[in-house]
Amino acid sequence: MKLVYFAWLRERVGFGQEEIDLPQEVSTVSELLNWLRSRGENFEEALKHPEVIRVAIDQVHENDLDKNITSAKEIALFPPMTGG
């Protein structure tokens, strides 16, 4: 599975994308966020305000933290958008 990060979330993580093998115990968006936070200080810092983190699964916005992600190909994490 590919994980992609944007804007200040990308800067705090330290890179823009990575390939990961999802651990067996991780099957939802909220479990993914919890697992990522345990991967190091950079992730802890990037994800310390989970309420502002936006998630897209296979390039579609996902608001449901309980959404199953096990068949996703690409998950993006980013801050609120500021285009326009």
């Binding site: 992609v4 944007f6 804007a7 200040w8 897209a56 390039q59 579609v60 916005h61 993006a76 980013f78 801050p79 609120p80 958008m81 500021t82 285009g83 326009g84």
Partner: protein, 157 residues
């Protein structure tokens, strides 16, 4: 349904040319509305904005929003162009052009597209300051979120 024209590009755009393209698609268009979003300098603080985007999803989201606008308001046509990369103050960032038989739906369609684009199109702005330093990431504004409230789903109150 007429398909919107959606372009995500680094290059600038020509507002007059885009209006002309929509004008030429039909003789039954009575109103064209354009919105152009520019990079402002925040009272002399900024030299530019860096726009980061999510390739693929940016196109998909804006296309989805523009298609909704065409269907909901019965627009004759719509064009949305959004730039990315470094954009100097005074330059264009985004263009929305809507065409319709009458003015009100053209106005409404353009506003609808911009309100949803601000909240859902995956773009992020970072400041470049005139003193040469890199500034902050621009914060999302609550007012952009609130502006969606006026667009309740059709058929509900």
């Amino acid at each position: 349904m007429k398909k919107p024209v959606v372009q995500i590009q680094q290059d600038n755009f020509d507002v007059g040319l885009e209006v002309k393209k929509l004008t030429n698609t039909s003789n039954n268009v009575g109103a064209i509305v354009t919105f152009t979003g520019l990079c402002r300098d925040e009272e002399g603080l900024l030299s530019a904005l860096e726009l980061e985007h999510y390739p693929g999803m940016a196109e998909n989201e804006i296309t989805r929003i523009a298609e909704q606008a065409i269907e909901r308001f019965g627009l004759s046509a719509a064009t949305v162009i959004h730039r990315y990369g470094k954009i100097e103050t005074g330059e264009n960032i985004v263009l929305v052009v809507t065409a319709a038989r009458h003015r009100q739906v053209a106005f409404d369609g353009a506003q609808f597209i911009m309100d949803f684009l601000k909240n859902n199109a995956p773009f992020w702005k970072k400041e470049h300051r005139l003193d040469g330093t890199t500034g902050d990431w621009v914060d999302a504004k609550d007012i952009d979120d609130q502006s969606l409230n006026k667009w309740k789903p059709v058929g509900k109150n």
